[in-house]
């Protein structure tokens, strides 16, 4: 008589056996298998779920209140001016000012952590006007995209490793990316927002990889997260930002791109 293995018993226990009647018959006839099954039942019966803390009827409303401000109204895609989200209206809406402040704060944050290259971004703000602010925003965003591009290129060519230099960089970029993503979403640039969203997911995966990046995990990331596609998107966006900086700066921009 062929005895049932543990997998068959587990399947039967959870009601997923392909032939439950046959297994039931076997358990009635075979003492050894019956004993194994009783032991399995006893073990699994002892594994009880943790009691789930109660959430009151207002919980759903509280969750909605917490996320409501982070979501934008859905609407049919409209044609927007190129980088229209950056152009501060002469009347200056509160939202635009808030976004500018947020991005300027981000500029200091990124500047603190990133090496100084060329003239510091704040130096271009000598006009003190909206043009200066715009330029700071563009430079900071350009810098972020530049760093992200380099990380994606490194990821593309990374060798399996248990060390985590890429992960440290990903963690660093992740916090800045969240800030940009939220600002861009509120400002309503869906293309940039989607790219930063995608970038955020890749950065999260890289940053949270517990045991370094194995070859299999690298392949998986490249396949599942389409990092090649993201790299292309980031390059296009960086060029867009750079083009927007160039006419305003009147000087040739520093080329920070990396080639594959």
């Amino acid at each position: 008589m062929k005895h049932l293995n543990e997998e068959e018993l587990i399947d039967y226990y959870y009601g997923e056996s392909s032939s439950p009647a046959a297994i039931g018959d076997h358990l009635r006839e075979c003492g050894e298998c019956s004993e194994s099954y009783v032991a399995l039942e006893r073990d699994l019966a002892e594994i009880k779920p943790l009691p789930v803390p109660q959430r009151d009827a207002a919980y759903g409303a509280q969750v909605w209140d917490a996320i409501r401000s982070s979501v934008a109204v859905k609407e049919a895609p409209q044609k927007k001016l190129r980088f229209g989200w950056l152009s501060l209206h002469p009347m200056g809406s509160l939202a635009a000012v808030a976004i500018a402040c947020l991005l300027i704060a981000a500029a200091f944050f990124v500047g603190r952590q990133w090496e100084h290259r060329g003239a510091p971004p704040v130096a271009v703000n000598d006009g003190g006007g909206e043009q200066g602010r715009e330029r700071v925003v563009l430079l900071v965003l350009g810098d972020h995209l530049d760093r992200s591009e380099r990380l994606l290129v490194e990821l593309k060519h990374a060798a399996p490793s248990t060390e985590a230099p890429l992960q440290a960089e990903a963690r660093d970029l992740l916090s800045a990316n969240r800030l940009y993503r939220e600002s861009v979403k509120q400002a309503g640039d869906p293309v940039l927002a989607a790219a930063l969203d995608h970038l955020g997911r890749v950065l999260t995966e890289v940053a949270n990889e517990p045991a370094g990046l194995s070859q299999a995990r690298l392949d998986e990331l490249q396949k599942e997260m389409n990092t090649d596609g993201l790299l292309f998107e980031v390059r296009v966006l960086r060029s867009r930002v750079q083009e927007d900086v160039e006419p305003k700066s009147g000087t040739s921009p520093v080329t920070k791109g990396v080639s594959i």
């Binding site: 543990e6 997998e7 587990i10 399947d11 959870y14 997923e16 399995l40 073990d43 699994l44 002892e46 594994i47 779920p49 943790l50 789930v52 803390p53 959430r55 919980y59 759903g60 409303a61 969750v63 909605w64 917490a66 996320i67 409501r68 982070s70 979501v71 934008a72 109204v73 859905k74 609407e75 969203d197 999260t204 949270n208 990889e209 517990p210």
Partner: protein
């Protein structure tokens, strides 16, 4: 109710952002329950609930009307919870010694003043179970929770974890085997 969910989704996509609040209210308890079971932490579960509904909103255009919103958001929540426990694993400082020696799989029983033998045994089982769950991989742990505690089928587990049904089944098997091995010391000295 689910038919109503579809109408709400259409309203949200047509620009009625606040209609989404009704979906959040309707499904947040279920999402919280599974999030708590996977993460094992109340604050993390709350975070997962918010993250799941946020992601749900952002991806609402991709929601297919032939699916049920409850099932769809449940899957997103499972994914968020899985990410959360992976993140926590990285951050966690592995503490051994005072409570448990994982190498020998021996759990220190609660202080002898705790009460009757039965209470001690029950605590010991709970302690062993908690410790054993920590030694499962994130996928095994989640697959087991979905199977054993959430009563989800292999197909549903596979869909939620975005893996093949056979891989989901194997994850449950491995989890059960590991958990049984962890509980074995209790069988020797009941």
């Amino acid at each position: 109710m689910e038919g109503n969910d579809h109408a709400i989704v259409r309203a949200v996509l047509a620009g009625d952002k606040d209609a989404y609040g009704a979906l959040v209210t309707r499904h947040s308890q279920n999402v919280f329950r599974v999030a708590f079971r996977i993460t094992g932490d109340e604050a993390d579960a709350d975070e997962v609930v918010q993250e799941a509904f946020l992601r749900g909103y952002q991806r609402l255009e991709g929601f297919e009307s032939r699916s049920e919103f409850g099932t769809w958001i449940y899957r997103i929540a499972v994914n968020c919870a899985l990410n959360m426990i992976n993140k926590r694993k990285v951050e966690a400082t592995y503490q051994i010694g005072e409570e448990t020696d994982p190498l020998q799989q021996q759990v220190q029983v609660a202080d002898s003043s705790a009460g009757p033998e039965r209470t001690l045994l029950s605590r010991e089982i709970e302690s062993l179970q908690t410790e054993a769950m920590k030694h499962l991989t994130a996928t095994e742990r989640t697959a087991f929770i979905l199977r054993h505690m959430e009563d989800r089928s292999t197909t549903e587990i596979a869909a939620a974890l975005e893996i093949a049904p056979n891989a989901a089944k194997q994850a449950v098997f491995r989890a059960v085997q590991k958990l049984r091995r962890s509980l074995a010391p209790l069988r020797v000295n009941p």
